[in-house]
Each structure stands twice: as C-alpha cells, then as structure tokens.
Symmetry: D2
Subunit: 351 residues, 4 copies
C-alpha cells in the first residue's frame, strides 16, 4: 500500500503540497454521532501556526479549515470527513532557485532518487505544511478521545542543549516554547535568539503525556501501542528518535530499578511509560521525540546541483529557527490518532 | 486489522505461544524464484539460540525450522511460505505458580486487561519465543536483500552502563556480546557476571548498520523508511527507544552541525542515518534500539495477585541476564523485513 | 479498516455526499511521471453526466474536475492526487420530505440502522453522485493502463428485458444506450419511453471488455483478479450480480464444453473470460454486471416513516429511468482501477 | 499486499500446496474467550471431504485439524489461531506427467505466466485442497456468529442443467447433493452418473441463505456487504458468477417489481437479498454462486506443452465429476468469514 494513510480503523489520508492550491486530509472510520464543528479543528490548527512564537517564520497562513463531507447537522455521520485548508501565502517564486539544487538535510535529493521528479516549490510534499492535515485529523480524533475523558499534553523538554528540569503544566501555555519549566523557557528564548543571529537553527525534544488511557489498548505483536506511537512520531519529518517511559535510560538500568512495582492501588513508578508488552496498562503514557534542527539555515553549506556539480548555498528568506514548538501540536495530533485507532480496535474485540 | 502481521508487500504473520506445540510464521508476498533452503533459515535462527552466550538461560531448543509450503525444488514459488518450529523444551509446570500473579515489568497484567484471558504458561504470546517467527522470516527477507548486495550488521553498543567506543566489525562474532569493541566486551562480561550474582538483570543498546541500501526506499509521508524501522524495532518486546543516525544527539545539535554536506561523491557525514524525509539516500542506514533489562529477576519484587492482593515474588529458574545479545539478531531480522518490504514497494512504482 | 478506500497499491478513497459542498477522490500510489491533465479526467467524467441520454434526469452538473495535488508540470509526482468536483445543482429542499420516510429499494433504512444518523439530502453518501470520485480516479488509472496498450470498452447488453444479440463496437457511441447492437438500441429506446410513461424504471446488464491485458495479473488465492473485479462491480450501488466469461451459463455446461482448448496460438474459446485460477491468461477479459432498476419511481409504493408507521409514497421530481447507460462508465472505471492495482502488484514481485 | 489473506478484522491467511506436507490457516483477530475445540473445526471440515458423495473422487484424507496456537483451556485467547491439516494421501508421482503440459481450464498456464515457476504436483496452490484452510477458519468464524444466533445454510440449486424448484431445508442433508428439492436430487444423481460414464464433468449453482443477520453490517462504499460477499465467493477457484437476492433476474424487472415494500413488520419481499446500499437490512441474506464444471476430464482435449507445442491430453485418475456438493461448505465458510469480519467492524464504530 502507498504511504499517505495512517491508522487501521480511524484512518486518515493526507494530501497536498506546500505550494499547491490546498492541503488537507480525509478521515475514514470516524464513528458516527460525534459532535464536530469546524471550530474544533481550527483551535488545534491555530496552535501549529507560525507567528506567535519566537522560533518561527513570518509566513502567515490563516489556515482556515473547511469541512467538505462527513458531518451533518453538527455531528459526524460515519462517512469520510474531508477537511481542506487552502494555501494562501505561497510565494513559489522565492523557491525558483531551488529547482536546480539539493538542499542539505532536506528530502530534495531523496525525493529525486525515488520518483525521478519532484515538486521543488517549498519542499512540495516534504514540507512541514503537510502536517496541517495531520493536525486537522488529530483534532477530530481528540473529539473521540474526549468521550473517554482522555487528556493529552505536549510540552518541550529540550531546545538545543537547554533542558527543562521541572514539570509545571500550568505554565506550558504561558511561554513561547510550550515548556513546563518557566526558568528553562527563559534560557530557551536566549538560545533561540543566539541561533537566529548566527544564521543557524536548533533541535530539541518534545514530550507527550497522556492521562486516563484505559488499560488494554494496543495489538500485539506488531501493532503494539508503543510500536504504533513510535511510527507515528517518527513519521514527522524532523523526528530522529522516539522513546517510551524511561526510554534510552532504561538501557542503563537494572531490572530491579526499571520494573515498576505493582500494588493494589496501581504502579509505584512508571518507567514503562504506561505500556507493557505493547498494551496500555492504565498508567499515564509518556513518550518523547527527538527533533533535529531545521535544515534550512543562512550559513553557507556545501551541496550539489541537480546535475551533480559541487556548489555552496545559503538559505535566506523566512525559515523557522526550530521546529519546536510548532511541532508540539503535530506530535500531540499523531498521538491522538494512534489512540483513537486503538480505541476502535479494542472495541471490535471486546464487546 | 489485527496486530500479528507486519509488512505490506513482503508480509509476515507470526503465530504461536511459548508453551504451545509450536511457533512459526507465514510469509506472504515473497517473490518467486528465490533460492531458499531450510538451512538458510536455520543459520539465522541459531544466532538467537541461548546457550552460547553468557547472559542467557540454559533452556535448549533445537529450533529446527521446517518449511511447510511455498518452496518447490529449492526455490520460492510466490505462494505463502509457512515455517514451523516445534516447542520441545516447554516446562509449563515451572510456570504454574504464575497463573495467579502478575509479574512486574511483564505483560501479564496488560494481557489480562485486554483479553480477559491469558495463556500464563511462560508468558504465552508475550514471550520472547515469539521472535522465532520473526527471525525465520527475516532470514527469508535477507535472501531477497542479498540479490541487491545489501549487507546488514547488528552489534551491541551498550550493556548496562558499559558502552562500546570502537567499531571493529571483525570482532563482533568473536565475543559473547556481539560487540564491535573488544575491550568493552570484556567489561561487559564482568558486568553480566555481577548482575547474575546479584539476582538482577541488564539492559543495553543494539545498533543495526545496513550497507548498500539503494536510494529511494521509503513511502512518505507515514510509511517513511525511518517510521517503519522505528515501528519494527519498537515492536520487539524489550525495546523502549529507537533512534536513527544522530538520533537524540541531533536534538542538541545546530543545523550547521547536523546537516550532512553533499558532494558529487556523496555525503560527507551521516547524521541522517541514511534517511532523508523518510527515503533512503544511498548512504548507510544506522539505527539503534534501547533494550530494557529483563524483567524476570531473582530479587524480591512487590506485585499483586490476579485477585488484586498485594504480594511479593522472586522469579527463580532459568532466565536471561539480558536480552542482549540474543535480541541482536531479532533487530537484524526486523530491519531485513522492513527493507524487503520497501524494496518491493519501490519496484511497484518504479518500473 | 473503514470502507471508503479501494485498491492496495493504486489506492483510492472517495469522499463526499450528494448535497454537500463537493465530492471527490484521493488517489494514493499512482506512479510518478505519468502525464496527466484535468482534461483527461474531464473526458471520462462527461460520460457519466446526465442529459445526453434518454434514461436520465435533467439535473445538470458541470462536474468540473479540479486537481488539487500530486501533479506538477503536467506529470504525476508519486504523491497523492486529490480531485475535487463541486456540487453545484443541489436542491436539498426537494428532498426535505425524505427526512422522515424510508424510500423502498434505497439505502435509507439500512444507513439509519448502521449509523443511527443519516444525511437524507439526496441519498447523502449512498447517492450515485459518489461515483464521480470513482470515475475521476478511473480516468487516472486509465492513463497508466494506456502505457500498457490496454483497451477497455463498456457496453449495454440488456435494458429491461431487451437484450443485445450483436457486437459491433463501432456503434456503441452512436446510440443513446451505449449498445453494440443497433437494432436492440432502437427497441431499448421504446422500452425506456414506456417505462417513463408508466412512472416505472428499468434494470439491465452491462458488459466490460478489456483487450491487451498482460498474462499474470491477479493475486491468488483471495485477491484473484476475478474476485477483485467482482467486488469492484458489486460495490456499485445498483449492481446485484457479476459474472466472468461464460458466468452463470458455465454452471449448465459440461467440462468438455466449458474448457477453453489451448493451442500454440492461444485459446480457441474464451469461456474463462480471460482469467484462470484468478490470474489473467492473456486473453480478453469479459465481465458482466446485473443492474437493478432505479428504486425511485413515480408509482405509489408501500413503506414506513422513520418512526415506523406505515405510509405510501410516490417519488416525483427528476429521476433516471435506468442507471444504464450512465453506470457504464462507472463499471469501466472500476475495472480500470482493479487492473491498475494489479499491474503495480505484479511489478512488485516480477522485477 | 499479497493475496493470501482475507478479512480486515477477522483476518485469515491460508497456506499450503496440494502435495506439500500440510495445508492450513492462521486466523488473526478472533475475539478472546470464544469456546473452541478441534472438534468444532473437524465437523465442518468433514463436510468438504470426498467419499460420501457420488460426484467425488475416492481420494481419502482424514483431514485431521490440529490447533497449534491461540486457544487455551478450550477458549480463544485473542492471539493468532493456527490450524494445520497434514496432507496424507498425496500421490505426486501420478502428477509427474503434468510437469510439462498445461491442463485446459486449469490455472497451470496462468501460474507459469505469473510466477515463472509452478508447483505442478496436483495443482499446487491452485488445488481445491487450499480450501481446507478456508473451511477450518470458517468453522471458527461460525462459533462467533453462533453467539449472535446467526444461522447459515448452503444448498445446491442446480447441477448441470438440472435445477431445484422446491426449498425444503429438512432434506438438504438427506441426499447426496445437499439439495433442498428431493425430486431434483434424484435427477441430479442420474445426471452425475451420465457425466461420469461420458468421462465428462458438471457445473452447478450453490445458494447460501443466512438467517438472523443483524441490520447494519457492511461498510460503504467499497466494502459493502454484498461487494465483500461477491469477492469471497468469486475467490473460490471454480466460481464464475455471483448474485445477491434477485440477482441477474433483477436486471429484467421494473422498479415497481423489484423494490421490496417496507411495512412496520418488515419487508414484504426480499429481492434485495437482505442487503440495501451495501448494508444488511435485517432480512435474510441470499446469495448464489455459479460453479463451472471440473476442468479435469477423461475426454481428450487440445492443449500445449510447457514449451508451447500442440498436444492432446486425457486426464485419468480420480477426479470429481463436479465441485458440487463439496464446494457448498466452502461457500458457507466464506460467507461466515465475511459476516464475522463485518460484525467486528460494526462493533468498532457502534459502541
């Protein structure tokens, strides 16, 4: 099967290029009778918009979500939900020079190798703009999760080498980096400003925390909940690593340290990140994604043209300093999609 | 769809419980006319067998692979290949006591929550014995990869807190930990011995390196090569984290450090781990999996019975000290399966 | 998985309701570098438009296809192709009375039972308007088939009780019923006129003939070419039967009559309809679909309201007398989609 | 995806060749806690065995079903159920002569074209023996359907040109042809005897009737219940046509005749065959499959060798006169599989 669909029962297909007429998503498998308004989608889409945040470019897209099918009288009907977002601010001419060169760290060279053709305007399909469809679909998935009281929070645990050390969920929305540690957020602001001045960019780490997940979600042995979450996050362009619970730190622990003791009142610790043998155990799900620095930088870089001649390039124009924190809501959306899918899958076998 | 299948075009379904009559795998979609003997499978299966290695239990399974279909006159026919391995050394009685208690760090409690029934004999389906089918299928996938000159090496880069610092591929098969750093391997032996004496267990990190991967594999935007690899490795019971190329370290890099400069002769560095925008770029693929310590330990642990009463348990009997290095060949097999699948998928669109 | 997608490698998802803002289709898996213009799609869409033909209603939809993604510089890029067609002539108020009654022979009562909610405007998702997406996608599939010189012809072999007895492909486009027998076409015109006068409707049989199909397409044992074709045609709303080659007549034959003798120059007969053991044998594919009469008729019918009270209804307004011949191009499109899918699937295993 | 799997949530994969060591099936997605014994499977398998019936060969296979996984303490566990049946009576030498010739009406020539290799022993994968796996899986599906009180009956409505005109379900098991018309059954016996004497074979028509199907099953617009049933039956080797309810007869009806009037007590007629717009409407499901005559006949036939030289062949040895009535239970099994799959799919969206 081709690769633009995600999920088995709550299944989405995203479509659209950065500088085409529109981007969007079709959701197939959303249960009927779920209240849904365009505003529910808009709210989540607005969180991935640039502009508010210090690390982002000045490109302004209203990103107005239109629901073209699958909703009737304010409720889902069980038929496919098409959500379309027009591309308004597409300055393709600014990318014309990219038609004949492969940008380092971007998918240009790989797309060309794969397809023998590429829409070079703004990265085409490989652009972060593709995530509009993911977030719109994630918003719909979240409406389903809300019926199960599931809560979900994405927050920044590292920007560049600056790490968060506290977790105060109240402050996440109060700083530019969606960071739960207000002191770290201040340092991040400085870090970002430095990178911008240098013409460079930053990576970071996003954590997604999910509360009230019912035990029993996940389908061993290949569609384990953690396996599907890992795929979900790794499918986001900038993500280079994923870990669940203690994650890479678990590799250095002993069994007696890593095992979460079980009591009649629940688990005493949560190194498992809420997932055992690929199935949710009822505890919070904790998952982290390592985000690489934005590859488009002003600093000169060594590369080649499409006819394989050496050249150098500096990428000017508007470019984010970091995918963080705009990527946070994308991570959140992907986690929503995985959970919605597994909720439905569990319903099927557990009447 | 249920969760016991993996791959879209080179598609496997594993089946079998630890203490049932047999375990195995059906491979559907293997191209015809590939030379295949039971010995090809046996060689790879032997590498996951316990006994040789210091971290493993003394359970001895001949693990004799039988090919029951799909091969005729020593070549694949394009029809499903069923490979069956009998369970010979299944001492279920040793597990009888586990019928009424949930082992910490194991899937027992999650399986019960999901299905309302569980085969408690030796972990049932959640046992590492399920990986026999993965490795057998991986061996078949590898026969396909060999036709494209693809090479694959799994090696241990950490056992507990002991890390490898050198990469000498020659020595991997010369030490008990499949470690490419012979000095580290010696320390690992001591580390393992200590853990055994303490009645505890160890985690670690496995790296899989793939050479000669053609550019163009991977299906954006959800079935990206790295997304599928992440899912593949995370679907192995003990794995809690996955990273590609620079991985989590990329989060702390600047764009100018992390971008791999492109020259007419190829990439100067490989922070991307051979994958850009989810598509192989022709460079080596590098991927690492964080493996948690074996949850079965002799040390007393706090847990509950199946009727939710607090209790303590010490797990005696034969248990590995670490999933490493037996898990290495499982990681290798999963990577083979992903690559075989994407080779076929790329063939379909690129005549 | 949900049910609005079709195909494994050449995979489409249709979306949209009869009286929503638009209908359309996303095609995922179309190979790159295929020349494609909106006009290619428009030509096929025009053939399902009402107006030209005597059996059809007067609803006029320009059905202008817009390509929103996946095509760059006149060629496919390998990324999802979104085709959108706006609904212009949607007189929902004419359907208001249908909100509280179940039309006999329509899906109203079944949709209500399944989803507990239904978009009653013009049949919603169950409307024949959904086939706009199928035809648009079929047009793209046909561009791929053309590269293999595959030809495809749909023609009417029966309207009501009037059957065609000759096959003269030249005349198919020269009569209102796309019938290859000009004499039968004349009788059909009379039959249709009679039904219209009676306030009744007609069924019929469509045959699809495919030439130059390469041998080897079809995936035993469940995705046999004939199995996939049967599903494809039976998924069209009005179709109640499908047969391949001799079809139901084969049930009354003896083996010596039904077997197609093989010679070095090919098969002497084609009772198999070009498919043996689910695989194309290189001969023409012949498949027929039985189309039921349009359920919306002016004659009074016995039915119930949505609160299960007995009532009678006469369905006035514009309604086709028969799904034939507008359905012919839909059948053709579905066959194109099956063949495109199996062409790609065969490429994958047969390098 | 490859073609040896069927179903989305109740998903089976059959494997095995006619003259390999065994045939079988893996069922993935069977809900947990369903009582299941090997005897349940055996009972259904016995109905497809030759020997009892006049049209069948004398090959005797005990067809002993072994459950190798997925069942614990007499109940399903939710993990894959592997059922294996050994091939005991495989006289491959009798087929040696078939290595170099293509039998008319068989898949030999198509398999060779597709794969470039074929297991010619007894038809290999294309043998009716493959259906053992389908029937075994169908028996498991039936255990699930029984929990919903669903009943299913397959019976013969035509053998060659002899048709049944009465429907007396009591007598189905009392004659050799599983025919509900005892008079027709007597004529069928004579018809079969004549064909045997002539060295020829017969086709026929099987009808499957399903009672107590809940309304709401089926997933528009491509996985409609009738579309999936059509694919299911057409995927059986000998089937060349499928029709639902009035089927091909509906093509000759007027709307006023074909529409089933709705009353507060249900439908007055059942031309729809229990399915409207692809969704079960609560009435009985009625579906028929046209079965072609067995292609292996004693009469001389024109064919070619594998090096494309003209030759003639008479196929001696044991061969059934007709796939009927052994195929009846296969049709029944396929219908069970479709219904089980759609029951689970409906559960997922309809909590």
């Amino acid at each position: 099967m081709p690769g633009n669909s995600f999920g088995k029962l709550f299944r989405i297909t995203t479509w659209g290029e950065s500088h085409g007429p529109a981007v969007g998503v079709v959701i197939d498998g959303c249960p009927p009778q779920i209240p849904l308004e365009a505003d529910d989608i808009q709210a989540m889409l607005n969180r991935r918009r640039p502009g508010k945040v210090i690390t982002s470019t000045s490109r302004r897209e209203p990103d107005q979500a239109q629901i073209l099918s699958g909703v009737f009288d304010g409720r889902t009907t069980g038929t496919p939900i098409m959500i379309l977002v027009k591309n308004k601010d597409a300055r393709s001419d600014a990318y014309q020079e990219l038609a004949h060169v492969f940008r380092p760290g971007h998918g240009d060279i790989a797309y060309q190798a794969k397809y023998g053709i590429r829409d070079w305007r703004g990265g085409g399909r490989a652009s972060a703009r593709e995530t509009v469809g993911r977030v719109a679909a994630g918003a719909v998935a979240f409406e389903l999760l809300k019926q199960h009281k599931i809560e979900i929070i994405a927050h920044t645990v590292a920007l560049g080498k600056t790490r968060a050390y506290r977790f105060d969920p109240q402050v996440i929305d109060q700083n530019l980096f969606y960071c739960a540690d207000p002191d770290a957020a201040e340092i991040m602001a400085q870090t970002a400003e430095n990178a911008r001045r240098e013409g460079d960019s930053l990576g970071g780490i996003v954590e997604v925390l999910v509360k009230n997940v019912p035990a029993g979600l996940g389908e061993p042995v290949f569609d384990k909940l953690d396996a599907d979450l890992a795929r979900a996050l790794m499918s986001i362009g900038a993500v280079k690593g994923v870990e669940i619970g203690a994650g890479f730190a678990a590799a250095g622990m002993k069994g007696s340290e890593n095992n979460d003791p079980i009591t009649p009142d629940g688990f005493l610790t949560n190194n498992a990140g809420g997932i055992l043998a690929g199935i949710s155990n009822g505890d919070n799900i904790i998952i982290r994604a390592a985000v690489k620095p934005i590859p488009s930088i002003r600093l000169e870089q060594q590369t080649i043209t499409t006819d394989h001649t050496a050249t150098e390039m500096s990428i000017g124009g508007r470019h984010d300093i970091s995918a963080i924190p705009r990527i946070n809501v994308v991570c959140e959306a992907m986690v929503c999609l995985v959970l919605a899918d597994h909720l439905l899958r569990q319903r099927a076998i557990n009447k």
